[in-house]
Amino acid sequence: MLHQLIEQCQRGNAFAQRRLYDQYANRLYRVSLRYVPHEPDAEEVLMNAFLKIFRNLPDFVYRDDNGLEAWLRRIVVNEALLHLRANRTLPIFRDDDAPEPLDTNELPDGGLEAEQLYDLIRELPPGYRTVFNLYAIEGYTHRKIAGQLHISENTSKSQLSKARALLQKWLTTHGYERTTRQSS
């Protein structure tokens, strides 16, 4: 089904393009919003990403649905990084203002609410958020992150460690409190 849709898009079928857009627009908008918290900027990133998607779709070789989604997400992430670079909003990675990592192995019990986690990630400082998104969610390696962000691998590792510690801290304290506050 999706394979046929891709084939139609590759032939320039506008209806198929609209269907593909409708299927992935919201999901990819969330991806964009994780990197670019400002919503209009995230929309612009998404629009540029879709333009690139439809431009490069004739060269795309469809294997399975997961491969297609990973390809779409990669384009959105690259476009978001380009946007951050173009607007000089790429995070400045500093180690001095980082919170102390928590020496606890405690994780929040029970299932984490998805929307709550999504909001917490968006609230991370720019440097932590970008490295955490790239490493923990997109699956990039530290070397690749270092290449993309023009930082060292050690900086990437330290940023990831601090992002994890901050998230755990929020989840164990503020997160639950906020969840409780929101639910009440």
Partner: protein, 272 residues
Amino acid sequence: MNEQHGNRLDQQIRQALDTLPDAPPPGSAFDSAKLWERLRPELPAQSVAAQSVAAQSIALQSVEKQLVANKKRPAVGWWLAAASLAGLLMGGLWWSGQISLKRDVVIGKSPEKTGARTGLSAQPNLSVNQPNVVVPPTEIRLITALPEKQHYQKRQGEVEPILAEKFDELADDQSLTTNSGPGISAPETPPLLLTEPDAVSVVAVQKPAITNAPKRRFRVVHANELAAEEESNVVRYRANHFVKLGTGNAASAGSGGESPALLIPLNRKSIQ
């Protein structure tokens, strides 16, 4: 926080994010339809471009098919082109050879050079008694076309008897004649001698030889020099006086002095 603990946290977060609904975050003003409206005007151009690319690829495929079909045909055209080219080359070589042969005859080239090309070295090419044979038709045409034609014809009567002696002298001179034998071959520059009274005609005759023929050596003679030679020959052989025999006083003749009555100056104008 060790690496394993962090990886477990990452995994939990990933699993939680995978359950996110296919909708904008709560409270977001994102409208996918509006974004599509902004996106759509830029898409048709791309789709048209994609269609044009597809059309180009189809055209390229058809061209490739035609090329493959042409490859299967025998290359008759190439053979024809090669044969015509070879024919043109051979014709050009033959024509250039003919032109150079004619030029040799016209200029009165040295017999050994001409013979080496034409294979006629054993034959005496020109005779002293037939000096006019040396003059090619083209040269005659050039000379007759000159405005001083009448002047040339008028002086020709004076030059011809001198030329007979001139040729005898030149025949004795080995540097100017051929090796074929004394008195057989013509001098190297009979056309120049024939046309020497008129410097303009000499230049006109020599021009095509200079422009077309390879380097050939001619005897370079100035017109004044030729005139001087002519005058000297005339002085040598011209009878300025003639003696009247059988008349006059014998006594006065035996005294050793010439009788003015017997020595009569030759007046050519009066004779002619």
